[in-house]
């Protein structure tokens, strides 16, 4: 028995050892992360609202801390130390382009009942956020909310009165001398991201096409755009910096323009036939039926100046829903016998939408051209938004363009959430990996905040 035991020990002991060694190690060898031919050691982000981390209708701290350039810089830390500095505002409610605070989501009472509605978190935005912090620069993220392409060499842009308050707060010196281009030159970036142009399309779009004086309405605007892009990239690439250029998504895909359907007038069969009999004489073109019906707008070319809007026309999210739902704005008010068309400022009609899309195509074509010319990574954000339109999944979470529930767009319906910014950052990473033979890791999109529900 003794010898049996010895033998057992002799044979089994090494086996046990082997078992323990093998069982503990499950680590999988990780692929090598490189930046390829790109030098990511000094990254500069240039752009407008999206680059700044503007979301929920304001520039506020948590938004900035989840800007897509910041998410990108986190990925860059795998290959190069990043000290990614952003011109952060104070903790709090932030301040929007309309001087209001950021939005939060609450259940708000309307004439038609209570509904989930974004409202301002405070009576007004925090103007102390405009306090000048330029001496603490230079900043790696010089995204300026609302920045337009023709402002990049505007010496008054950093002037607190005459310029853009968001730029004035972090301009190097408020001496009417510094510009976006001079910032770029002085920064000496090894790598940059450039993504702007939405801020050129949005003011016109948000006016419902009523801003007839907006520069993009000018049929020659693309010449201006091209000139400034050439200037911008001459500056960006002066020291052979490498970079990535984002193209322009179709802003009319954003929830701000799609959350309210063009045919959002819901009628019963009885209501529809009642209205039809009233309108038959003067507005035969307005044929209502049970269910969803289009809104009515003014159109001088239509019989008696009114028509239904078409499926390629958009109702803006700022339309007063109380008036729409309880007082029949945009349809026929049976109680008071009035046909109430939607005011022009709440609708992008076919021609206005066509102009916005035409400019988008022109901008994107120029950006593609310059990216090819300078051997830069070209990031197809237009394509990302198209994919979001049909819905994408990330580790079990669905992302879409749906307002509030699509995870990608913030409460303002225009700017992306932190999660949306991570999706954008991932598009940049994919393009950088392809262009420069890099193998940067994408961001874990679900790890970033989305919309907070009550």
């Amino acid at each position: 028995m003794n010898s049996d035991m010895k033998q057992t020990k002799k044979i089994l002991a090494p086996l046990f050892l082997l078992v323990f060694i093998c069982s503990c190690k499950t680590n999988i060898e990780e692929p090598k992360i490189t930046s390829g031919s790109a030098d990511l050691s000094n990254y500069l982000a240039v752009g407008g609202s999206f680059t700044a981390g503007y979301m929920d209708g304001a520039l506020y701290l948590e938004g900035q801390q989840n800007s897509f350039p910041l998410i990108l810089s986190k990925s860059f830390t795998d290959v190069a130390t990043q000290n990614f500095k952003q011109p952060l505002v104070n903790p709090g409610v932030g301040i929007g382009l309309d001087s209001n605070s950021k939005l939060i989501l609450i259940n708000k009472a309307f004439c038609y009942g209570s509904a989930l509605t974004p409202v301002n978190a405070a009576a007004s935005g925090d103007a102390s956020d405009y306090t000048w912090i330029g001496s603490q620069g230079p900043y790696n993220n010089i995204g300026v909310p609302g920045l337009r392409i023709y402002e990049i060499n505007n010496q008054l842009l950093g002037n607190p009165q005459a310029g853009n308050s968001y730029y004035a707060r972090f301009v190097k010196m408020q001496d009417n001398d510094h510009t976006i281009l001079s910032d770029i030159t002085e920064f000496n970036a090894t790598f940059f991201t450039y993504w702007m142009g939405m801020d050129d399309l949005l003011p016109y779009a948000l006016s419902g096409g009523t801003a007839d004086n907006d520069p993009i309405v000018n049929s020659n605007f693309i010449t201006t755009f091209d000139t400034y892009i050439d200037l911008m990239f001459k500056t960006l690439c002066a020291d052979n910096a490498k970079g990535a250029v984002g193209n322009i998504p179709d802003v009319l895909d954003f929830p701000y323009f799609t959350a309210i359907p063009y045919d959002g007038v819901v009628l019963t069969e009885e209501e529809a036939s009642q209205i039809n009999s009233i309108l038959a004489a003067s507005f035969p073109q307005l044929q209502y039926h049970e269910g969803n019906n289009p809104f009515v707008i003014d159109d001088p070319s239509a019989p008696n100046g009114k028509r239904f809007i078409a499926s390629n026309e958009y109702v803006l999210m700022n339309v007063p829903l109380d008036s729409v739902k309880c007082f029949h704005l945009g349809s026929y008010d049976l109680q008071n016998g009035r046909l109430l068309s939607l005011p022009d400022q709440y609708v992008i009609d076919g021609a206005e939408g066509g102009l916005i899309r035409q400019r988008r195509i022109e901008f994107s074509a120029k950006l593609k051209e310059i990216a090819d010319e300078k051997d830069l990574a070209f990031v197809d954000i237009y394509d990302l938004v198209r994919h979001l339109d049909s819905g994408i999944k990330f580790n079990g979470v669905a992302y879409s363009l749906e307002f509030l529930h699509g995870n990608a767009f913030s409460l303002d319906g225009i700017h992306t959430t932190a999660k949306g910014n991570a999706l954008i950052a991932n598009e940049f990473i994919k393009a950088i990996n392809v262009q420069y033979g890099a193998s940067l890791r994408e961001a874990d999109v679900n790890a970033y905040p989305g919309i907070i529900f009550p």
Binding site: D4, T8, I11, N107, G396, P454
Partner: protein, 403 residues
């Protein structure tokens, strides 16, 4: 020959899964020989491995045993590098009685956990919206009768009464005061199946065996689903508690093997298992009162094959050493590879010893490791991609009593 009788059933570690969530630690003697036991027989564990061999025994016997099964799993995330699972250790148990009624008729009872699984990840891990934990356990109770047709040929048949229970947890992508909501599903149910075996000694040295264990379909009804940390906005979408149903089909297995004594001290065996995993085509959670919560995940599992070899050398009348190996093919296709069942082709290496303490009592000891090949795949339904690698450690002990 007699030594074959005292297979101290080395506890097959329940960690070793034969494709899918099948575990092959149903007898220590078998496990230490790579799980190849269909043609070996003559132990109480034959109630499970081959009822046809039960009646070839010369005595009644009882075996009890258990295994310690620890599976480590890593997931290589495209985003965060290696992430380690927190799988709990499993302790599958088994007990068998093989009782001689007459020289030709034996009756028996087997109790074991042939299908079992528990893959658990940190609650905050990046795949939390797909799975935080999926736990399944089955208890099979199998009354069995075996008849010796002649000195060389035995047949046996058992009825399986199965009890199953499962638990599933995952995060819900809604943010309120918590950064995500939490869903937990708990349910149990039962199923019925059978076990058929044939055992034939083709000469003094050799034997063949074939065993068919039917599928057991666990119909689970009226389970408890709870949702917590849900913002009030979604209180109707995710009610705090409600009932759900599901169904888990444990597949049928056909095992065929051959065993041969090259000398009276040296026994070798080879075996092929065919597991009809194609029955596990989907895993669905149905909420009769709340169709919106229904979860249907395609699994598309494929039938899988496992090859096993085993050997035993008897040093003395009282002492055997055993070794074995198995190569087990994955049943889960690459595009359905999920963190709740991160399967891969795997190799089992096992060893063990049997020691006869006295005329009636013997003990078996088993150790084994099961090494999953690193596998890259996607859980397409969720767009969750990455590589998985697992290792299992199996330790087991069993006691046998002959009378």
């Amino acid at each position: 020959m007699r030594k074959i009788n005292f297979f101290l059933a080395i506890l097959l570690p329940s960690i070793s899964m034969a494709g899918g969530f099948q575990i092959n630690t149903q007898g220590q003697h078998a496990v230490s020989m790579g799980g190849a036991f269909t043609a070996v027989g003559k132990k109480a564990s034959s109630v499970f491995y081959n009822p046809g061999a039960m009646s070839m025994a010369e005595k009644s016997s009882i075996t009890i045993g258990g295994n310690y099964l620890k599976t480590g799993t890593s997931y290589l995330s495209p985003f965060n590098g290696n992430v380690k699972a927190e799988n709990p250790s499993l302790i599958p148990l088994h007990a068998y009685v093989n009782w001689m009624i007459t020289e030709k008729i034996f009756v028996g009872l087997g109790i074991n956990n042939p299908f079992r699984s528990d893959f658990k990840w940190d609650d905050d891990w990046e795949g939390r919206y797909v799975s935080q934990e999926l736990k399944f356990n089955s208890w099979y109770f199998q009354p069995t009768v075996s008849y010796k047709i002649n000195e060389n040929f035995g047949i046996g048949c058992g009825v399986v009464f199965g009890l199953g229970n499962m638990m599933f947890r995952k995060a819900i992508p809604v943010e309120g005061t918590a950064s995500f909501g939490q869903e937990e599903l708990k349910i149990n149910g039962s199923g019925i199946g059978f076990n058929l075996g044939l055992f034939y000694k083709f000469n003094k040295e050799g034997s063949v065996g074939i065993c068919y264990r039917s599928a057991v379909n666990f119909k689970m009804k009226n389970g408890d689903a709870t949702f917590t940390d849900i913002p009030s906005t979604f209180a109707d979408t995710y009610p705090s508690s409600l009932k759900f149903n599901t169904e888990i089909k444990c597949p049928s297995v056909i095992s065929a093997g051959i065993a041969y004594h090259f000398t009276s001290a040296l026994l070798t065996t080879v075996q092929l298992d065919f597991t009809a995993w194609s029955s596990f085509d989907s895993l669905n959670y149905i909420f009769p009162d709340h169709p919106g919560l229904e979860i249907r995940t395609g699994r598309n599992s494929k039938n899988s094959i496992c090859g096993r070899v085993g050997g035993q050398y008897s040093f003395t009348e009282n002492f055997d050493l055993r070794i074995g190996a198995a190569y087990d093919l994955a049943s889960v296709p690459q595009d359905h590879l999920s963190p709740d069942l991160p399967e891969a082709d795997k190799i089992l290496l096992s060893a063990g010893a049997g020691y006869k303490i006295n005329r009636m009592l013997s003990a078996d000891l088993t150790v084994g490791i099961e090494n999953y090949f690193e596998r890259k795949g996607q859980f397409s339904d969720a767009n969750l991609n990455g590589s998985y690698k697992s290792n299992s450690l199996i330790v087991g002990i069993g006691l046998n009593y002959e009378f």
